[in-house]
Amino acid sequence: MARDLAIDLGTANTLVYMKGRGIVLNEPSVIALNRQTGEVLATGREAWQMIGRTPGYIVAVRPLRGGAITDFEITERMIRLLLQRVGVSRFTRPKVVICVPSAITEVERRAVTDAARRAGAADAQLIEQPMAAAIGADLPIDEPVGNMVIDIGGGTSETAVISLGGVVALEAVRVGSFDIDAAIQAYVRREHGIAIGERTAEEVKMAIGSAAPTDDESQAEVRGRDLMTGLPKTVVLTPEEIRFAIEDVVSSIIASVVRCLAKAPPELAQDFLVRGMYLVGGGGLLRGLAPRIERETQVPVKMSNMPLEAVVMGAGHCIEHYDALKTMFMGARRP
């Protein structure tokens, strides 16, 4: 008998929680394929290391990029490999709960559940990311109070108000931390005339990126290819210019938080002032982001304890209490 599983199929990272065990897998959502034969060559960390460094016949992709399922076939293969790696076979058929962006379409939803069933799941259910995040961030969502959770991932930013075990207001945009990387890439290209890869841009973001000025600011050296000469070149980037480069993305994420606040019923809105809103997801770790959201919304922002694991922990809780929490699954509420 296989143990039931909860999967956070993120655009950037995939995490798997096994019932009764805990998190058994945590790696980048990347798959490397042979362009000619279509064979899978690597997944996870190994495939991630190949991004931007592959010879012509290999392609390393993030199939979920943008918070949408861009390639159904590759997504299905990724789910199949994932299940195989945690021990699912034709003879062990576990129940699976998968977290997906709340904005995914009906077609995408069916694609994910069908893929999981074909890959060996006895039953596959979906749960919205912000709901899972709120459970995982340990918010008192069993009470009739306004709990607000902001999940900023690689490809999506979702803000939700949850009370009494259900979503009261939700605002999701397909903008996330990857878009910050892309903005840095575009800026460096435009202003410094050098091309840098997406992994380098991500490193710059983590090293000196910020949404508002902070105390400990330093510059960063970045190496890329000079667009004029084609030769390798190093430039120095300042935190101010990176802030400027990513401003559009940051402000569109904050705007979606504001829209969600505006959708919340007034009774719950007053709870936020006291309880604050909780930030989860890797994108929420951007320096200065929490204080900036706090300043622009006048609502306290708190970082959750385990921002990268909160979603899978929430889904894990749903797999531990499968029967009692059935009503939270996406199909159950919106048939």
Binding site: G136, P140, G165, N305, P307, M313, G316
Partner: protein
């Protein structure tokens, strides 16, 4: 004879009244209660303890 019939009717009525008065819980109430109870902090403790590293019970994220 008539008394037996009357007794049967009285007993049947009494049984009916008892059955009708017994507060039958709505299925909605029961499943909602179960749903909410399963989301309580105590119910969630299990998963939290399983995932959380031993000494980071409080404060701040772990970064990356």
């Amino acid at each position: 004879m008539i008394w037996i019939l009357v007794a049967v009717v009285v007993i049947a009525l009494a049984v009916l009244v008892i059955v009708a008065r017994k507060p039958r819980q709505e299925p909605g109430v029961a499943s909602f209660r179960r749903h909410i109870d399963a989301l309580s902090p105590e119910a969630r403790r299990e998963v939290m303890d399983r995932v959380r590293p031993p000494d980071s019970n409080q404060q701040e994220g772990q970064g990356n």
